[in-house]
Symmetry: C2
Subunit: 337 residues, 2 copies
């Protein structure tokens, strides 16, 4: 298995990316090989720090770095020799099985859509995020690809995210919830009311609307929403975790009781780190003909390593093919309705 | 000052409501008097538990309880003698200065709009919530009254919430942010792109888009968004806090080190409780000709007490009149643009 990794994308590129790639290769049990795309000399310099295994990690030179101020739809045209575009092209040419990048979400989404195209029947690709809540965790879809959606898009998000939960987390028949501001079928925006009706008809495992406060109860596996709400929730959770962490730390310092403060801080840090993006690594872009993994811009090496390993698993599990089958089955079903 | 309190609304009504009212009267320094609306005998029974001061707490009998399964717009018609409708009518008749209820948000919103009407110039009433983040806290508006909005509604939310921060939390020129999925002016839904342009022209203290992860940085006082996103964020925060609290507690129990676990749990509980709705009490409904405070359905006595005291402060600060002035000033300004 070969994974193309954008060595130049993200706040800590290339050092953190190269380090994460080296760690992923060392930890993988799947004969993982990596192609790093980007500026050859810079990548070589980093690789030499780690006793570079040239059979497992190769470099595909790319002279440009996609500028995040350029409109996402212009990246392929204006930065044809960027680490991002070249990485996606390796997937298109069959030279890599998947692509991982900590570059701009919009640029990855737009370039992947243009170069790889959508899976047959998919109307809108979507980005999912896995939250490690309860025994099996939950997956939220969409978290940023689509700021405006229709009911049928929400249905497709449910199908794609269900395939993800099935293949990546072993949840056989994932229970699907529609994120909404109340449990009643007539709640929320118009497209959500329509989606409630559509999902009820088409998805046997649809459990109705779910309120955001109930995401943590463990009775839902897949939660669908539009990318505007999903992205806001995700970023809110991120800010909130860091904020509470800071508060706990500062209260512990100022607390005058004679107790073991480092112990609480340890426990709390353990719990918090589970929810940070570093653990799950990144977000899958689903609905594209090829696996693309989008990492947080601030990703350190550990997040990159986890993202690469998770991507490797999705290749092994044939996630793209599963989504194609899942979507085509539902398209047929909707035509019957 | 007289505040009407719906004794029958909420999961723990009437006991928690009556207890909260008694506590509020005892703590208030504003010669606070309360009229409890609802079933007379039930309320009397509760009041007798606390050495009822009949000069300060009176009962306004109401034979019905608004059924939450009835459509909000039908509550005034179908439950004219409900504790909710009667409480709002006391405000309309000038017999009370404000209304507090832990009943259904939709029913309160709809009935208040019908009976009291909007402040002159206000297009859409909105619900705000105060989050105790940083030194001064932040206020989020709207968190549930409007699932769909236009740019000019977002502008009005900013003005109303700014008046709230000014009068209730002493923030002189509140800095306003537009909740969005990126900092660039062209990000997000169409109405958000328009709002960015409108707010830039009209509000001197508009600081541009703010991402949800940055709400905790303390450089913004007022954050505006549509009620669908705001409501989801709020409920997510609620679920999240309870979830982390449970996780920490269970980790502490299973931790094998010889540490003072109860002391650690105390510290954590203190921090967490700051963020729970019980502390701030409830959410103001702004834009209506009269103060209405909406409490969480699960409110215990402490939350009701805090909500009543906060409502009393808003009456003292003439919040309704301030909003009227703020909105009329901006309406004039937009006409000039």
């Amino acid at each position: 298995m070969i994974i193309a990794v954008d060595a130049m994308g993200g706040d800590h590129a290339p050092p953190a990316i190269v380090q994460g790639a080296v760690q992923a290769v060392a930890e993988s049990k799947d004969k993982l090989r990596i192609i790093l795309t980007g500026k050859k000399q810079k990548i070589q310099k980093e690789l030499k720090k780690y006793g570079w295994n040239k059979d497992l990690i190769k470099i595909h030179p790319a002279s440009q770095v996609a500028d995040s101020t350029v409109r996402p739809s212009q990246v392929v045209k204006k930065f044809p020799d960027s680490s991002l575009v070249q990485g996606i092209k390796l997937v298109k040419q069959g030279k890599a099985d998947a692509f991982v990048s900590a570059g701009s979400t919009g640029a990855i989404l737009s370039s992947a859509l243009l170069l790889l195209g959508r899976i047959e029947g998919v109307r809108r690709p979507a980005i999912i995020v896995y939250l490690p809540v309860g025994a099996k965790g939950i997956v939220l879809c969409d978290v940023g690809a689509n700021t405006e959606v229709k009911a049928r898009h929400l249905l497709q998000f449910a199908i794609m995210a269900s395939e993800y939960m099935n293949h990546m987390h072993g949840v056989r028949k994932p229970k699907v919830g529609l994120l909404n501001i109340g449990e009643e079928a007539n709640k929320g925006r118009e497209e959500y009311v329509e989606a409630h009706s559509l999902l009820s008809k088409v998805l046997p495992n649809f459990k109705g609307n779910v309120e955001a406060r109930d995401l943590f109860k463990g009775n839902i596996d897949v939660v669908v929403c539009d990318g505007f709400v999903g992205n806001n929730l995700l970023k809110f959770a991120e800010g909130w975790i860091h904020h509470v962490h800071r508060e706990v730390t500062s209260q512990l310092i100022s607390d005058e009781r004679n107790i073991d403060k480092s112990a609480l801080n340890d426990i709390f840090t353990d719990i918090i780190s589970e929810y940070e993006y570093e653990e799950s690594g990144g977000s899958f872009l689903l609905g594209i003909k090829g696996i693309c993994m989008i990492c947080h811009g601030a990703s350190p090496a550990r997040a990159i390593k986890n993202a690469i390993l998770s991507t490797a698993q999705s290749v092994k599990e044939k996630l793209v093919e599963s989504i194609r089958v899942g979507i085509s089955r539902t398209v047929a079903q909707i035509e019957i309705i």
